[in-house]
């Protein structure tokens, strides 16, 4: 059986690469889109050798919104599955004092991935099939002092994915929202993360693969996060505003 490729946006991220590898292992060809794809040449060679699937690289900047449809037009095949790992944690203190920095975080976590997946959704809809995977974050479930610029953008992205899912349900198109919790990646390098709450990129890749196969809607990679977030969401605001989280 020849499979339609999986398109990965932000493919240089550890989570994206682990996800790509999991799909390649199952025999899916890959379309990897990232900034400066020359960094991905070794991974391309490795994946092709190990799994015998075709891997193509595409250079793009997600913030250049106009380029999205051009990139999609240039693909030899419209993918069967598209995954966005695009994101930027940024520095909260800097975001508070520098609107330019804040806007960059907002655009990278919300505007860019939402518009890109929205464009793909239209093409999937025209075809009548496809799966969209958006990697958002539990940080979007409630704004906290330590990362609310990032969190608010992720909240927007999560809501967007939920709307997309609602719009496309019954049209053969599936939308998966991934809320990974803490993951041990380049984004979190050097942070002191609690071990039990932290997933490895590999784990996230496998969980995404399984969730796509099972057509799940929302994926918390480590189940404990569902509980943690239920608690955090339900703390009354008068109490919450005084907490240091």
């Amino acid at each position: 059986m020849t499979r339609l490729p999986v398109l990965i946006l932000g493919a240089g991220s550890d989570i994206a690469m682990a996800t790509a590898r999991r799909f390649a292992e199952a025999g899916y060809p890959l379309q990897l889109a990232a900034r400066r794809t020359e960094r991905l040449e070794r991974d391309r060679a490795d994946i092709e050798l190990r799994h015998g699937v075709k891997v193509s690289l595409y250079d793009f900047d997600a913030l250049d919104i106009a380029s999205h449809s051009a990139l999609l037009d240039s693909l030899p095949d419209l993918p069967g599955i598209a995954v966005s790992a695009i994101g930027l944690l940024g520095d909260q203190a800097e975001n508070e004092s520098d609107a330019g920095a804040a806007i960059r975080v907002m655009r990278t976590n919300y505007e860019a991935p939402a518009c890109f997946l929205g464009e793909i959704a239209n093409r999937f809809e025209a075809r009548g099939s496809g799966t969209l995977v958006g990697i958002s974050s539990v940080a979007g479930e409630r704004g906290r002092a330590t990362n609310y610029v990032y969190g608010s953008a992720k909240a927007g992205f999560t809501a967007y994915l939920s709307g997309l899912r609602n719009r496309l349900a019954g049209k053969g198109i599936h939308v998966l929202t991934v809320l990974p919790g803490f993951v041990d990646t380049r984004m979190t390098a050097g942070m002191d993360l609690p071990k039990r709450l932290t997933a490895q990129p590999d784990e996230v890749g496998r969980a995404i693969f399984a969730a796509v196969q099972r057509r799940r809607n929302i994926l918390y990679v480590k189940p404990v996060w569902q509980l943690v977030m239920a608690v955090i969401r339900n703390i009354p605001e008068p109490v919450f505003k005084r907490l240091k989280l």
Binding site: D43, R50, R186
Partner: protein
């Protein structure tokens, strides 16, 4: 973090980093005298450095493969297990493999590992075409037998002490199936064992499990296994269509350390006895799948925990052919006398010596392991002495307790190695707990 080799002795608190590319690796080298670490399957302290241990496993990508020559180019952190998973289904197998496939390419080069075919084909280094090594200043040097041959010579078998290997090219061998035609030969004593090795010198693979708890007439009784890669025509016709499909092995795991009483002289003696009897009753000829033949221990993850919390120590020496019979008899007598049975005792014929301070040389190699105890440490000191008396030398990948003078008496090359490190400005840039202990 607390770190050890596979023997879980010694354990040391080590600062560990895991750089993801050449630039980060170069950066990490600036933090002070460093040692590269692969998958931690060497037994002792060769991949430990309290101030700067560099986990190389992120260098985990295969770069290319040439089906004409069987040459694979791979980064140093690639696991042998992944290479087999990728290439066996296409008809290729490692030219040399140690007794576990959970080792990295870098670790195999640094220990110049030998397999059951050493007597005919040599060690891993014999199949290496080139390697890339990082110098203390972060620059990468490619070396081979013809290009920077001195660096190549000392890096193969050099236990990481010439700098981190980042990439290597080496050759796989063609195979028709994932099966081995195995021949089992029980022998009744040491004389018969050595005679069998010599008689079957042309077998591709040969190794013996040796019972080191029986003395007297049966001293050195063994189960020898010989092997050849099976051709497709050796398989039953229903297997011929999928010659690389072998039964999936369930991975067992030792979740916790065994209490100390699990391995004592009585249980080890009973095990050895049962093992010998069962082995002697096996059919002479059988087909084994590649995992059972090459990697019997790999099906029990963390089997090293069997030895309890204190860990275990390995002893592995090689004796030259002329001294082998007398030397092995003396070693076995000493072990039998001590009553400290070794659970896993392996005897193997080795062939030509490799480069640098690589371990193998023509003769017989004996590998043993013992749970750590004062008695075992004393016994190993005596075994060192017996090996020295018989012109033997020792395998650094297994060592955790030898003294610098034992090393120097066993191996004239140790001083040359140290001098080379000094001359090339490597002594202060690359050190392991083992190199400090052995004054390398």
């Amino acid at each position: 973090m607390m770190l050890s080799g596979w023997g879980r002795f010694p354990r040391q608190s080590c600062a560990v980093s895991d750089p993801r590319d050449i630039d980060e690796l170069a950066q990490v080298l600036q933090a002070g005298s460093a040692i590269a670490r692969g998958n931690g399957r060497s037994y002792g302290d060769s991949a430990l450095n309290p101030v700067n241990t560099i986990d190389m496993r992120r260098f985990g990508r295969m770069v290319s493969f040439d089906p004409m020559t069987g040459q694979i180019v791979a980064e140093a952190g690639v696991l042998l297990a992944d290479i087999i998973d990728t290439f066996l289904p296409r008809g290729w197998f490692p030219s040399v493999t140690p007794g576990t496939r959970f080792v990295t390419v870098g670790g195999m080069i640094a220990s110049d590992v030998h397999g059951k075919n050493h007597h005919l084909h040599g060690a891993f280094g014999a199949f290496l075409d080139w390697i890339e090594v990082m110098a203390p200043d972060g620059r990468i040097t490619r070396c081979s037998r013809t290009e920077k041959p001195e660096l190549f010579h000392w890096t193969v078998g050099g236990m990481g002490l010439t700098g981190p290997i980042v990439c290597a090219a080496f050759r796989l061998r063609r195979v028709e199936t994932g099966w081995i035609r195995q021949t089992n030969l029980p022998t009744r004593n040491l004389e018969e064992t050595l005679a069998a090795f010599e008689t079957h010198h042309s077998s591709t693979y040969s190794v013996a499990w040796i019972d080191c708890l029986t003395g007297g007439d049966t001293l050195g009784r063994s189960l020898i296994s010989l092997g050849e890669h099976a051709a497709a025509s050796d398989l039953a016709w229903d297997k011929r269509k999928q010659p690389f499909d072998t039964p999936a092995k369930r991975l067992l795991s030792m979740p916790v350390s065994a209490p100390a009483f699990v391995l004592n002289r009585h249980t080890v003696r009973a095990f050895n006895d049962i093992y010998y009897r069962r082995g002697a009753a096996r059919p002479v000829e059988e087909l084994s799948d590649w995992k059972s033949f090459f990697y019997p221990l790999d099906s029990i993850l963390n089997w090293n925990r069997l030895y309890g919390r204190r860990g275990f120590i390995q002893f592995q020496c090689v004796l030259p052919p002329a001294a082998s019979a007398a030397g092995l008899a003396a070693l076995l007598e000493r072990i039998t006398h001590s009553g400290l049975g070794s659970f896993l005792a392996v005897l193997k014929r080795l062939g030509d010596a490799g480069t640098g301070i690589s371990f193998p040389m023509p003769g017989y190699t004996l590998a043993l392991d013992f749970p750590v105890s004062p008695g075992a440490l004393d016994l190993l000191t005596e075994l060192d002495r017996i090996a020295l008396d018989h012109e033997g030398r020792f395998y650094l990948a297994k060592d955790s307790r030898m003294t610098p003078s034992t090393l120097r008496r066993s191996d004239k090359r140790a001083e040359d190695f140290r001098a080379m490190r000094q001359a090339m400005g490597l002594s202060s840039a690359f050190t392991s707990s083992q190199s400090e202990r052995l004054l390398l």
